[in-house]
Every structure is written in structure tokens, then in C-alpha cells.
């Protein structure tokens, strides 16, 4: 008696979702995604000149998309498979009559779902906190709110899948993931020129700056940047997710894990 891919994925995912809610790592990632909202609230309270749209776009761009989303995804993404290896519980899953790819998908899906939910809450709270700013402007419009929500969710899905695949391929995925986040996503994405296209960050920014409110165009240093259309960036992010998923599942199907007794 064997279990099919989708059924096994669903079983693992539902069980994993329950375990995730009790995991310290999951809550640490959630805190990271809520951090920009706390900063927004503190800044709005302390600075009378800051405006709601200025504060929400600035913190959404730099703190949420630039820092919180990549780091929270890294924290949970590398653990998708690596946590089971570290805990040495992967044996139970590998030795069941299921396709190994289901293990990857079943563990990845709850992590993405959790981070999407936290991103949505984090974005909503960020916008709500920014709206309390006392400077006068048009307020936080849907053109700020909705693209930011879309980009945050797309960001956690893309980064988490990428880091999950990394966790299957390399031994010290956290270190490699940190190096990638700082050098490629943190550094390259902020350099002028077309090199930005190589980063996920550029495509996330395209989702907001290319489609949203004019307020996004006022972010310092990015006024002259040429952004991708929504469809193109969405397609690139979807391709990254698909390729990383395939690579992670393929590797897991072939990999052996040497677990200490």
C-alpha cells in the first residue's frame, strides 16, 4: 500500500501546520514580520512631521520588503527540510511509502502559508500604524496598501521556496542563505543599473512601484529606476518558485541523510 503525491503532501502539510504553530522558529519569523509595524508606530508617535503615505512607503520598501521578508523567509525556509534532519525525525518520513517530493512540498506549503498570513497581518498593522502619523498628506491609499500586501506575500513565497531548496542542497544553508540575502538581495538590488534584475528584490519592488500609487515613486534613490510591468515580475517570481520547488524536490528524492545515533 503506497500513498500518492498529493495525498501525502496534504497529510504532511496539515500535520506540519499544527506543529508550526508551536514552533519558536515560526513565532520568531512572525515577530520579524511585525517589526516594521512597531517601528512605524514609534516613528509616528515621535515625529510630528512624518506623513502617513511617506511612512508606510518608506518602511514598506526598506524595512518590510528589504529586511523582514527576506530574513523571516530565510529563518523558516532553510528549516523546511533541515529541521527534520537536525531533529533526526526525517527517518520516519523517508521510510514511509510516499514519494519523497511530497515531503518537500508538504513541509514547504505550511511554511509559506504561515509567512503569508504573518506578512498580511504585518502589512495591515504597518499601514494602520503609519496612518496615525500626524503630517498632512492624502493618507495611505489602496495604491500603497494593496501592492505592498501583494509584494510581501509574493516575497515570502519566493524567498521561502528558494531557501527551502537551499536547505536540501547545501549543508550549511543558513550561512549560505545569509550570504545570499546580504550580498545579492541586500547589496546588488540597491546598486544602480540593470543588475538589479538579477534580484528577487527588484521584482518585488516592481510589483509595488510599477503598479501602485505615485507615493512609491518618491522613494529616495529609485525615482529613475525603470520597473518591470506587473505581469513580467509576477512571471519571474512564479518561475523562481517553480524552479526552486522542482530543484528541492528532485534533490530530496535522491539525497541520503547521515544521521548520528
Amino acid at each position: 500500500m503506497t500513498t500518492g503525491f498529493w495525498r501525502a503532501s496534504l497529510l504532511i502539510a496539515t500535520t506540519q501546520l499544527g506543529l508550526l504553530a508551536r514552533s519558536r522558529r515560526a513565532w520568531a519569523a512572525a515577530c520579524l514580520l511585525l517589526l516594521p509595524a512597531i517601528i512605524a508606530w514609534l516613528v509616528a508617535a515621535a515625529n510630528a512631521k512624518v506623513t502617513p503615505s511617506g511612512l508606510s512607503t518608506m518602511l514598506g520598501w526598506y524595512a518590510l520588503l528589504g529586511v523582514s521578508v527576506p530574513l523571516a523567509s530565510l529563518l523558516l525556509g532553510v528549516a523546511v527540510v533541515a529541521e527534520e534532519v537536525e531533529d533526526r525525525t526525517i527517518t520516519y518520513l523517508l521510510l514511509r511509502p510516499i514519494p519523497r517530493a511530497a515531503l518537500f512540498v508538504g513541509r514547504l506549503a505550511p511554511a509559506v502559508l504561515w509567512l503569508c498570513a504573518c506578512s498580511a497581518v504585518g502589512t495591515a498593522l504597518l499601514v494602520a500604524a503609519a496612518a496615525t502619523a500626524r503630517g498632512s498628506d492624502a493618507g495611505v491609499s489602496d495604491g500603497v496598501r494593496l501592492p505592498l500586501l501583494l509584494a510581501a506575500c509574493a516575497g515570502v513565497a519566493t524567498y521561502t521556496t528558494l531557501h527551502a531548496a537551499l536547505g536540501v542542497w547545501v549543508k550549511h544553508a543558513m550561512i549560505v542563505g545569509l550570504a545570499y540575502s546580504f550580498t545579492i538581495e541586500g547589496f546588488l538590488s540597491n546598486l544602480p543599473g540593470r543588475n538589479q534584475l538579477l534580484t528577487i528584490q527588484y521584482h518585488l519592488r516592481s510589483l509595488v512601484a510599477g503598479t501602485g500609487d505615485d507615493a512609491w515613486q518618491r522613494i529616495d534613490g529609485f525615482g529613475a529606476t525603470e520597473w518591470n510591468p506587473l505581469f513580467d515580475s509576477g512571471l519571474v517570481l512564479a518561475l523562481v518558485v517553480a524552479c526552486a520547488s522542482a530543484a528541492g524536490a528532485w534533490r530530496l528524492a535522491r539525497r541520503q541523510f547521515e544521521l548520528p545515533a
Partner: protein, 314 residues
């Protein structure tokens, strides 16, 4: 009329597995028949590596292994008929015992109601049914071991493979677990388990596979091994307040072959008649006013007899 011997449940041919420069198992060719088989060997003999290869957790570096007629690595067809109890004390600590076994049964293709029923039966068999709703994180070492055994037998596999299954169990649980293995064998399952303690195998089966330093040393019957053990002098360590005085008395005892004082003043006695030594020691120690502080067997594992079989010095 001749009877064909039953097909082996495990067939390894020139099997080797290396961890970098370290040998796990090497050039292992063995057929394991159906029934209960003990995999014996001292620590580091390659038992766990062999069982991991057999369960499909590891791939061979060289050679081949077939379990129930097929290579086991990433093979769902084999895994549906195989139950594996790993040695590592790893469980999902936030799950209850019932959730743990039930979840793994669902992954084995059981429908929810059937999975619940089979999980309860398995937990009953390892005497954990009263603790079924407790989190595994709060379990004692022995209970955790029994939970691991439960998941390996719950789906009624054709072959149950257990890596050091009796480690961490108290004498009562150990007895109950041995009885469980007997029942599994009586129900027609093949049971392959590893241990480094000979009498654990003797309690279950006469069929053993002996590994030493990653290689197959012998395959055969326990009585032959036991006879070797009995021919081989047993060593005991005795910590005494007056080791020299005690040594003078012990060297006269029947069956004692050698007495020496090791590092730290520990007395090491070699005897071919351990029962005689155990019987006489209290009286000798008392008469010599030697003040015994500790007494232990140096041959608790199989290292001595394995070295003996290999022709090494002990």
C-alpha cells in the same frame, strides 16, 4: 523429495558503505532468511550502517542490497512492507503518542478510522495505550523507545527491522518487548534486530549474523557462539581497599587464570569458571579484609569474544 529454502528477506552482495575514510560496512555478502534474526556485533561493528542500508535510509557506496526482492532506497513498494525502528532517540516531541503513530499510518496509506484503530492496537502492544494522549516530549527514555517500536509494527509489515530496540528499557519492558517480537514472529513477520548483548539474542532466536569492524564474521547459531564464550576466559574488575592481599588469595582459586593490578589499583581477574569466582569472592574478600568497593564484568559486550574469533589478543 527436496524442499526449496525460502527466499531471503534481505540479500546483500559485496555491500560496502563508507563515510569518507571511515568504513561503515565492507564487502558484506549475506542472505538473511525469513524468521527472527539477531544482528550481533560490538559497538562500531557496522550494525546500524547495515540496518540503515537495509531500510533504505542510506545508499551503498559499492555492491548491492535487496530487501523483499527490491532495492530499498527511496522505494515506496519496499517501505510499505517494511517497519523500521531507528536507534536515534528522535521523535516529534509536540505530538502525542497516538498522533505520532496515527500520522505515520496515514502516510502508509491507511484511512483515518483504520489508522486510529491500528495505532491503538500498536500502542496497546507496546503497553503505551494509557499514555496515548500524552506528549512524546514528556515521555521517559523507555517510553520513547516503545513509541518508536509501535510505529514500526503498526502497519503490520512483512519485515520489522529494529536497531538496538532494547536499549533504555527497564527489565519488565525488556521482557514484554521480547515477548512482542515472539508474537510478531508467530504471526508470520520477519524480525531483524541488532544488539551487542548476546543473551538478548538467545532469548529470541538461535539465528544470528555477526558483524565485526564492518565485515561479516559469521552467520549461524547462538549455541556455537555461547560455546566460544564459555571457552574464553572471562574478565572481571574488582576495586578493593587491599588489592594485593585480595590478589594473593584469588590466584589460588580454582579456574582463575590470571590476576593483575591495573591502573588506579583496580584488580583484573581472568577466570574460566566465573560462577566459582562469584560464589567464592565474598568469603575470600571478607577473610582477607580486602574491602571490596566495586565489582564489574569486563566482558559485558561482545568485544572480547569477537576479538577472540578474529584471532586478536584480549
Amino acid at each position: 523429495m527436496t524442499h526449496a529454502s525460502p527466499a531471503p528477506v534481505v540479500r546483500a552482495k559485496d555491500l560496502a558503505r563508507f563515510y569518507g575514510d571511515v568504513v561503515g560496512v565492507c564487502d558484506l555478502t549475506v542472505d538473511i532468511p525469513p524468521g527472527t534474526v539477531g544482528l550481533l556485533g560490538p559497538n562500531g561493528a557496522g550494525k546500524s550502517t547495515f540496518l540503515k542500508l537495509l531500510a533504505g535510509e542510506l545508499k551503498p557506496s559499492r555492491g548491492s542490497i535487496e530487501v523483499l526482492g527490491a532495492p530499498p532506497f527511496a522505494n515506496p513498494a519496499v517501505h510499505s512492507r517494511l517497519g523500521f525502528c531507528p536507534q536515534q532517540d528522535a521523535l516529534w516531541d509536540d505530538m502525542t503518542a497516538l498522533e505520532f503513530v496515527e500520522f505515520l499510518l496515514r502516510l502508509s496509506g491507511f484511512e483515518p478510522a483504520r489508522a486510529r484503530k491500528a495505532a491503538l492496537v500498536a500502542l496497546e502492544r507496546v503497553q503505551l495505550v494509557d499514555a496515548k494522549d500524552r506528549r512524546l516530549g514528556g515521555f521517559s527514555k523507555g517510553m520513547r523507545q516503545r513509541a518508536r517500536i509501535a510505529q514500526s509494527i503498526a502497519h503490520e509489515p512483512q519485515l520489522v527491522v529494529l536497531d538496538e530496540p532494547l536499549t533504555g528499557l527497564d527489565p519488565l519492558a525488556r521482557h514484554a518487548t521480547l515477548e512482542l517480537f515472539r508474537q510478531l514472529a508467530a504471526e508470520g513477520a520477519s524480525v531483524l534486530f541488532s544488539t551487542h548483548v548476546l543473551h538478548e539474542v538467545e532469548a529470541l532466536t538461535t539465528n544470528v549474523v555477526l558483524l565485526h569492524r564492518g565485515r561479516l564474521l559469521a552467520r549461524g547459531e547462538v549455541p556455537a557462539i555461547r560455546a566460544l564464550l564459555d571457552r574464553h576466559p572471562r574478565r572481571y574488575s574488582i576495586q578493593a581497599r587491599e588489592p594485593r592481599r585480595l590478589a594473593r588469595e584469588l590466584v589460588e582459586l580454582e579456574g582463575v587464570e590470571a590476576v593483575r593490578i591495573a591502573e588506579g589499583g583496580m584488580l583484573v581477574v581472568e577466570t574460566r569458571q566465573p560462577e566459582r569466582l562469584l560464589e567464592a569472592l565474598p568469603a575470600i574478600a571478607s577473610a582477607a579484609r580486602a574491602g571490596i568497593g566495586a565489582f564489574e564484568s569486563r566482558d559485558e559486550g561482545l568485544e572480547a569474544v569477537f576479538d577472540y574469533l578474529m584471532g586478536g589478543s584480549t
